[in-house]
């Protein structure tokens, strides 16, 4: 035929693709974080934005440098470094020295991701590795909070709702509404539960995130803290306050749901969420720290391969 001038392409079936790519998903996660970033800037001012930008920039720079040193291809375009930098920043206090944010970001990328071989190979959630390193190295900077912009409190350092909950100081807590919308001190991404839920629901709706993880994580924390609250006589609002405080919302929707470090089976994800909820509740209620999310996620990341191995689905045609 005259119109065939070149050799025909002989690729293997399937010849169609859904057009769904990792880049698109990462972009959507970034979009989903915008309400929370906006809330952070609203409550903490320009400094919040600075911390976020510095963190993202150092994440991108260290990923680029690592890939050059390892003689591997440039992976900045897949958006995961930007996301790691952004998510790490959301776990940091607004007053953190910028050099500490840089350090945390670099550790997240280098130790949390690139040494394992890059995207897809890491065992731990990179942002939480960065946060854990910072928490262990600079506990004071990581637990120094500032008031929200326009708040009437004038103390330079103060306790977050999470710390107050742990101390049982129920009368000093802000109202549940304040905790829900974010008018509370805390890390950049820990304040507005409303913004995070909106972002999280968007991700579930778009199919980037399996709803089972946040559902089982938040559900387990709710049930366990409700039980605890009932025993201690803390009132009906207690479990809701637990849900809205600390890094739980951002952890449940944005960090625990990270594809690479969570199980690939359906039952595995439910178990993963249950384990997360259990660990977070135990650490918060009985452990030495006030925040359990970071370590729960890291511990469950370690258990992901074994969860995958024991929750394999049934093959079509095999016995039920």
């Amino acid at each position: 035929m005259e119109s065939i001038n070149k050799p025909l392409i002989l690729s293997c079936s399937p010849h169609l693709h859904s057009r769904y790519t990792t880049e698109k998903a990462m972009r959507d996660v970034g979009l989903a974080l915008i309400p929370a970033v906006a809330a952070a800037v609203f409550y903490f001012g320009f400094r919040a934005l600075l911390v976020i930008l510095v963190s993202i920039a150092s994440a991108m720079a260290s990923e680029y440098a690592c890939r050059r040193i390892m003689h591997r291809g440039n992976t900045l375009f897949d958006g995961s470094a930007i996301l790691t930098g952004g998510l790490l920043a959301m776990c940091l206090p607004p007053g953190i020295p910028l050099w500490a944010a840089v350090l945390g970001s670099v550790s997240a990328i280098v130790i949390g991701k690139q040494v394992f071989g890059g995207l897809g190979q890491n065992i731990f959630n990179p942002a939480h590795i960065g946060r854990a390193i910072l928490l262990a190295s600079f506990p004071v900077y990581m637990t120094t909070w500032v008031p929200t912009v326009g708040s009437s409190v004038d103390a330079v350092t103060m306790a977050t709702p999470l710390a107050l909950l742990k101390a049982g100081a129920m009368d000093q807590l802000p109202s549940l509404w304040q905790m829900f919308v974010g008018q509370i001190p805390g890390s950049l991404g820990e304040t507005s539960a409303l913004a995070l839920i909106l972002g999280g629901l968007y991700l579930i709706y778009k199919g980037h995130v399996d709803w089972r993880i946040p559902a089982s994580y938040l559900g387990t924390v709710f049930v366990l803290t409700a039980l605890f609250g009932m025993i201690k006589g803390f009132g009906m609002a207690y479990p809701f306050m637990q849900l809205c405080s600390g890094g739980l919302m951002i952890g449940a929707f944005f960090m625990a749901t990270d594809w690479v470090t969570s199980p690939i089976t359906v039952r595995g994800r439910v178990i993963f969420g249950l384990g997360l909820g259990l660990l977070t509740s135990l650490i918060r209620l009985f452990g030495g720290l006030s925040e359990g999310v970071c370590y729960s996620i890291l511990i469950m990341n370690i258990l992901t391969p074994i969860i995958d191995r024991y929750t394999k689905g049934r093959i079509f045609g095999r016995a039920k």
């Binding site: 065939i4 079936s13 897809g120 399996d210 093959i315 095999r318």
Partner: protein
């Protein structure tokens, strides 16, 4: 009216691209000057040529004899003169021996054929089976399994309680089955009844996907008086048309790994095959043509054609269609499981449901570089067989064939759902095919298994 829509677990939703041809009535393609009838367009032993160069043949004349039980005869799709034999490639890349007939354009049927049977209802199963074999009927959904074998009494004495006609056609672009359901529904129903008689089966089901509601409503109307035939609709999801998934959606049963539909007392056939059976039983008409959808952005006027077996793709397009742009890819079949072919000199065969021609502009062609697996598990969710493609492919990349076998790689139906959804563009099916080759080879070192190519 609200109809219950059946479905199966797993699978994925894909754009169906059927709007170009699903409302276009099938046109008779202009018969070509030469036809190349392959001696093997079916599973089983190739037919043995019965003619010699110079022989004059009539349309429908047997020109190839079936060899053994699992084999069917081949027939001339035009009347004319045998001018030679030629080896031509078939879509999977293998070569087939073909009888070349020069068309005299008279379309003279062999005497004795196309005679309406006075009393087809009086024919018994044996006679029906003989006519199905004589007509060279094979599964027209693509697998081309000899139909008389499918309906032969099973050695273990298994009996079918359902015969399911597959009117799903889940592959994008293809509308051949949709058109035959709209244009010849009575033949399909008649064919189903003969099949039920052949298999001594009490119940027939016609299953149609919900993107063909016009065909569904027509079939429902035509079968509502018959209590032995049920017409059902299935949710649009790929790969509903896969035999195992269809049986599961219609009956809830699961064909065991390595098993056949008869193991769960079901027989499945394409709607086109049913129409061909009716033609064979009632008119002794051999299978010499079929509906083919010609589409793709390289074709100016996409169309459904009734094409003579043995027409070269090149001749079909040159005589009947018009090409636009620089052609870079041609697919035989559908885009999810069809074969990309390297030449247009391939004959249309009994299982050719579509020819898709793409030029450089096509969106269908864009493919990015393979990236690392990000464990999103979309492939796991999409697999209709419950497999973990990512695990299998990671093992295959390490050449750990034993692990792929342990992950049930041989249960893969190669539907392509996993590769379709993978955000890292990993060619999962390609690696799975490689693993299957090693797992099924006798010595485990990858000697090519002819049934996998």
């Amino acid at each position: 009216m609200n109809y219950e829509k059946r479905t199966f677990s797993g699978g994925t939703h894909i754009q169906d691209f059927k709007e170009f041809t699903n409302s276009l009535e099938t046109q008779e393609a202009k018969a070509p000057a030469k036809v190349y009838i392959p001696m093997s367009m079916h599973i089983g032993a190739p037919s043995k040529p019965l003619v010699a160069v110079g022989d004059l043949v009539k349309m429908g004349q047997k020109i190839g004899e079936s060899q053994g039980f699992v084999s069917v005869p081949a027939h001339a799709s035009v009347s004319g003169k045998v001018i030679g034999f030629k080896q031509l490639p078939v879509p999977n890349g293998r070569m087939a021996d073909c009888v070349v007939i020069e068309n005299d354009f008279k379309d003279e049927w062999l005497e004795g054929l196309i005679q309406p049977e006075q009393n087809p209802q009086a024919l018994d199963a044996k006679e029906i089976g003989a006519r199905v074999l004589e007509a060279g009927i094979v599964g027209m959904g693509g697998a081309t399994f000899p139909s008389h074998v499918k309906y032969a009494p099973s050695k273990e004495g298994k009996k079918a309680d359902h015969i399911i006609l597959n009117g799903i056609e889940c592959e994008p672009f293809l509308t051949a089955d949709h058109r035959i359901m709209l244009e010849r529904p009575e033949r399909i129903i008649a064919g189903l009844k003969y099949m039920m008689k052949l298999a001594d089966c009490p119940k027939g089901v016609i299953a149609i996907e919900e993107n063909k509601m016009d065909a569904f409503e027509l079939m429902i109307r035509l079968t509502e008086q018959d209590s032995t035939i049920e017409t059902i609709v299935c949710k649009e999801k790929y790969p509903q048309g896969s035999e195992k998934q269809l049986i599961n959606a219609v009956t809830g049963r699961e064909v065991p790994p390595g098993g056949l539909p008869m193991d769960v007392h079901v027989i499945v056939n394409n709607v086109g095959t049913a129409a061909a059976v009716a033609d064979a039983v009632e008119f002794r008409r051999p299978l010499i043509d079929r509906i083919v959808t010609l589409n793709g952005n390289g074709i100016v006027r996409p169309m459904n054609y009734r094409v003579r077996i043995g027409t070269l793709y090149k001749d079909l397009i040159e005589e009947n269609g018009e090409v636009i742009g620089d052609i870079v890819k041609v697919i035989s079949g559908g885009p999810m499981m069809g074969f990309a072919v390297y030449t247009m000199e391939i004959p249309v065969m009994k299982g050719t449901s579509g020819i898709l021609v793409f030029n450089e502009e096509s969106q269908v062609l864009k493919r990015e570089e393979e990236g690392p697996c990000v464990r999103c598990a979309r492939c796991v969710d999409a697999c209709p067989m419950g497999l973990e493609p990512t695990t299998i492919v990671k093992a295959a990349k390490r050449r750990d064939w034993a692990k792929t076998k342990a992950c049930d790689v041989t249960s893969c139906i190669e539907c392509g759902s996993c590769a379709y959804v993978c955000p890292s563009m990993i060619p999962l099916v390609h690696y799975i095919r490689l693993a299957k080759q090693y797992v099924t080879s006798k010595d485990g070192n990858g000697a090519v298994n002819p049934f996998l190519v």
